[in-house]
Subunit: 207 residues, 2 copies
DNA sequence: TGTACATCAGTGAACGCGCGTTCACTGATGTAC
DNA sequence: TGTACATCAGTGAACGCGCGTTCACTGATGTAC
């Protein structure tokens, strides 16, 4: 291994390496588009550190991977929140969220795969419920649909949670199929998103 | 390894083992619900044969796994075809197919995962396009939607392929989310399927 | 009817692989007296 | 101002693991003459 120019962190700042590790792992994930390629050794190499150092900052590999993805999803959350705050029309806000979500998923396939397409048993306990129901993208979607309902624009006979789950299934379905089956003769992403948003809104919302 | 009671196949019938291997692999997959647990060694053990024997019948592990899943999906195809033939109402036929597809996916999570949630690079070449666009469940769905269109019951402005992709995204989304996030507070499967079918049909079909 | 031979289903032993992880350690830095 | 010490970020070497896969082989069975 080539000796790295990296110098050791001073006393109180051991956490500096933590962020470098997250950055390196994220970069590897983006470059290789393969969770397997992001081994503890590869991450350590890229940071310029030996593998055991990783364990000073993350308890094991799955946790590291989820922290990486979690950080990326936090950025999505910020974006979704911005969309909701920016739109005065509640239905338009839901559409904007849906669009942003689908674009994000297709643009970050391996991240999306880890967060939403993985095996339950490969998911560290701390990420099993939390990330999902309460926190993050899903909660935002519930809020956005609730706003539509509060404005009286949800189609009669459909409840907020039903509508939210249906929307989630649709956006997730589009994203995950495109990720798993890249060789399928898909239409343009824009075209598919437009169709899907149009039909879904017509089905769920009024006005 | 306990010596097995299995006796060697006579001359022309080497293919007998092939089916036994498929059966054993399928049984293991169903029991463990884990692709990783279905190792070449585990399959060989269960059949009562040594690992190298597997390679006389399947070129490698991914191919074996896909053959196993393919066989299960063939059964789904038969079921879907039966639904379509049994329903005189075209829309009812699409609904029946969608329901059967979702039930199948949720009932065979690991099979579904391998076929529709895997990495493109883990998919043997022979299964990359074929299983999808031309053959099997998707083609059946296209046919069913085409029948609705032929009956003049597709909502104006929506094309057959658009409607099919949307339906596919929805059913796949429901199935794959329930598989990946079993800890999520889902509604009953029946309830979720009913809502989804109701809303989708209202959105896409007329009468 | 008997013998030599080809076939081929299945074996036994081993290969290399890269992985996640653990362990006892080093050595620079700050702190107490 | 100097010395002993505690801290703690990061190291080096190795562990065990189970996997997919390969190779040269055995030995029962059918076939040709």
């Amino acid at each position: 291994m080539v000796p790295s120019p990296r110098s050791r962190s001073p006393r109180g700042q051991g956490d500096a390496l933590r962020d470098e590790i997250l950055d390196a792992a994220e970069a590897l994930l983006v470059e290789t588009q393969s969770e397997d390629a992001v081994s503890i050794r590869a991450v350590a190499d890229r940071v310029g550190v030996t593998p055991p150092s990783i364990y000073r900052h993350f308890e094991d590999k799955p946790t590291l991977m989820f922290r990486v993805c979690d950080r990326q999803f936090d950025r999505l959350d910020v974006e979704l929140r911005a969309h909701r705050d920016a739109e005065s029309d509640q239905v338009a806000a839901v559409i904007a969220c849906g669009r942003a979500y689908m674009r994000f998923g297709v643009a970050h396939p391996e991240t999306y795969r880890i967060m939403f397409m993985g095996h339950r048993d490969d998911t560290p306990e701390q990420f099993r419920d939390e990330t999902m129901a309460e926190h993050g993208a899903f909660a935002g979607l519930v809020d956005a649909v609730q706003a539509v309902a509060d404005a009286g624009r949800l189609r009669p006979g459909i409840e907020v949670m039903q509508a939210t789950l249906l929307l989630w299934a649709c956006v997730h379905g589009l994203v995950s199929l495109r990720i798993s089956k890249p060789d399928f003769p898909w239409p343009t992403l824009d075209e598919q998103i437009d169709t899907q948003c149009g039909v879904m809104c017509a089905a769920l919302f009024t006005d």
